[in-house]
């Protein structure tokens, strides 16, 4: 049976030595085990024998990050969010590790003509055409690559790995690309109103 603790007691116990710490670690492991099972059970890429590794890695990560806990949620909620990050990062890595970023990008183009659809409302078509034009003319190759790979759902960890950059650098690249795109679209007259029209079409 897991013993209930308030946030202070969790932190103090995990920072302690000996049996107090061992007991807190065992309880935390049990809580995270239940949480991970319930949040991963519906995924086709998850099998139960992954759980021990996920828990082990999660506990290490949580202990390392204890000083970053800001006491703004229940400790257990915070710890669970870290465990989910650990598990999902690993699952994404497995799913994407054999996919070549270079090939993914080479196989896709931002060609507005290919999107021609007679049923599309003109506002939406104009927005898509303008967006493709900006992507093709205003973004760097790297920005275009990152944008496309993210839209295709490729794992950020894998994109960063194949580009040889950090996750933070990748986030900056992605943000620069999206923000540039938005700015250019606003500059040529698209605003939140036109986005709304295009979205409803």
């Amino acid at each position: 049976m897991v013993r209930d603790r308030d946030n202070d007691e969790w932190i103090k116990s995990l920072e302690a030595k000996g049996p107090i710490r061992e007991s807190a670690l065992a309880d935390l492991r049990e809580i995270l085990s239940a949480s991970l099972k319930s949040s991963l059970k519906s995924r086709s890429d998850y099998v139960d024998n992954m759980l021990d590794d996920f828990l082990q890695d999660s506990l290490i990560r949580i202990l390392k990050a204890l000083d970053q806990f800001q006491n703004r949620s229940r400790f257990v909620t915070w710890a669970t969010s870290i465990a989910i990050r650990v598990a999902m990062t690993e699952l994404r890595k497995r799913r994407w590790r054999d996919v070549s970023l270079e090939k993914l990008v080479a196989d896709t183009n931002f060609d507005p003509v290919a999107e021609a659809d007679d049923n599309m409302v003109p506002e939406r078509r104009q927005l898509i055409e303008a967006m493709y034009r900006v992507i093709n003319t205003q973004l760097t190759d790297k920005q275009r690559t990152v944008l496309l790979a993210e839209i295709k759902g490729m794992a950020q960890e894998e994109i960063a790995g194949q580009l040889g950059c950090s996750r933070n650098a990748l986030y900056k690249l992605s943000h620069d690309a999206r923000f540039r795109l938005k700015q250019e679209l606003v500059k040529i007259g698209f605003d939140s109103q036109s986005f709304a029209v295009a979205f409803n079409g």
Partner: protein, 81 residues
């Protein structure tokens, strides 16, 4: 190969929701628990958590993890009550 309709929609979505100043995935991780508790309690999102809300709109990975967190919190709550 061109992009699918779904991918174009996703691209339009993230461009629309992009802001000049954003937080990254590491900052999101440290606060997403608080955000999830506020959301599950049905309380309004405080100003300090708006950046998390925006990040979850543009980052599919953090959004996927946030949904998993809510699912875990819901099922734990059910077993506790």
């Amino acid at each position: 190969m061109s992009m699918t309709g779904e991918e174009i929609q996703r691209l339009l979505d993230v461009v629309r929701d992009t802001q000049a100043v954003e937080i990254d995935c590491d900052v999101c991780l440290m606060q997403v628990g608080e955000f999830a508790e506020v959301r599950l309690a049905g309380k309004p999102i405080a100003e300090g958590l708006k950046a998390i809300e925006q990040h979850l709109l543009i980052c599919p990975e953090c959004r996927e993890e946030f949904e998993a967190l809510c699912q875990a919190m819901n099922s734990i709550e059910k077993t506790e009550s």
